[in-house]
């Protein structure tokens, strides 16, 4: 399994993003998750499998039921892909700010 690529591929799919949103505030069984989608149950299972494989979701056995939860640590890595973009703008704006502060004192 190519874990390094899969995290980013996982969130490229709208159904998988919807599953992550559903699980943002609660843990749910596969059946309860599938009830939110028109797609066939095996399709939803496949999405859950992919999300679990790239460690965005975790499973916990509770009696006879398996509950899915979000793996918050790995979700943070997804958010990290906009961080370099943010950093670039932050650097530029810091430069802008210091240039204009000098500009002001030159006058």
């Amino acid at each position: 399994m190519n874990l390094r690529r899969d995290v980013f591929q996982a969130i490229a799919d709208p159904t998988r993003r919807a599953i992550l949103l559903l699980l943002a505030t609660q843990t749910m069984t596969a059946g309860a998750i599938a009830a939110n989608f028109d797609t066939a149950r095996p399709t939803v299972s496949k999405h859950l499998q992919i999300l679990t494989e790239c460690e965005l979701l975790g499973q916990q056995q509770n009696g006879r039921e398996v509950y899915y939860h979000i793996n918050a640590k790995n979700m943070k890595q997804v958010a990290d892909f906009i961080e370099p973009f943010r950093q670039m703008w932050d650097d530029r704006f810091n430069k802008l700010e210091s240039i204009m502060k000098n500009y002001k004192s030159d006058k």
């Binding site: 390094r4 790995n74 890595q77 990290d80 906009i82 370099p84 802008l96 204009m100």
Partner: protein, 154 residues
């Protein structure tokens, strides 16, 4: 500590929002966007053309460490001094097409101001490609971290 520059890019959307507060009067912040000599300094680019007016245009050119030149240009759709610039932005010789940018300059106090940039891309997929484009290094860093975690699990 709160981040000074924020980027909000929701999943599956074709736009994003960049916000930043400056320790500068709004007039100076605006000037940093309209005087070619100043733009060159903080954007790290050469300004070939900058027409600060409605229906004006701009053209920038950067030179990468290998000496290759990269062009950027756009049309200025609306221009209101110290308040807003609405413009397009396009990378020349790149497959990404044009994006629409709404820049809003806001006075907070006499000495502070806020800039909000709303960028709209043609599609959500294009936005995500653009976000990842010049930042391969950052993505690699994230991947390396991920790899480290995986290695520890082995």
């Amino acid at each position: 500590m709160e981040l000074k520059t924020k980027v909000a890019a929701e999943d599956g959307r074709q736009d994003l929002l960049i916000t930043r507060e400056f320790d500068l009067p709004v007039g100076l912040l605006f000037k940093a966007y309209t005087e070619a000599g100043i733009v060159e300094q903080w954007m790290g680019t050469k300004v070939l053309k900058l027409e600060n007016k409605k229906h004006g245009g701009y053209q920038f050119e950067t030179t990468d460490p290998k000496g290759n030149k990269h062009g950027f240009n756009g049309a200025i759709h609306d221009f209101v001094p110290n308040q807003k610039i609405t413009r397009t932005f396009e990378m020349e010789n790149a497959p990404f097409g044009v994006q629409l940018e709404f820049l809003e300059f806001e006075r907070l106090t006499d000495g502070t101001s806020k800039l909000t940039i709303h960028v709209v891309y043609r599609s959500a997929a294009l936005r995500d490609q653009m976000l990842q484009l010049p930042f391969k290094q950052g993505i690699n860093m994230a991947h390396n971290r991920l790899q480290e975690i995986v290695n520890k699990l082995k």
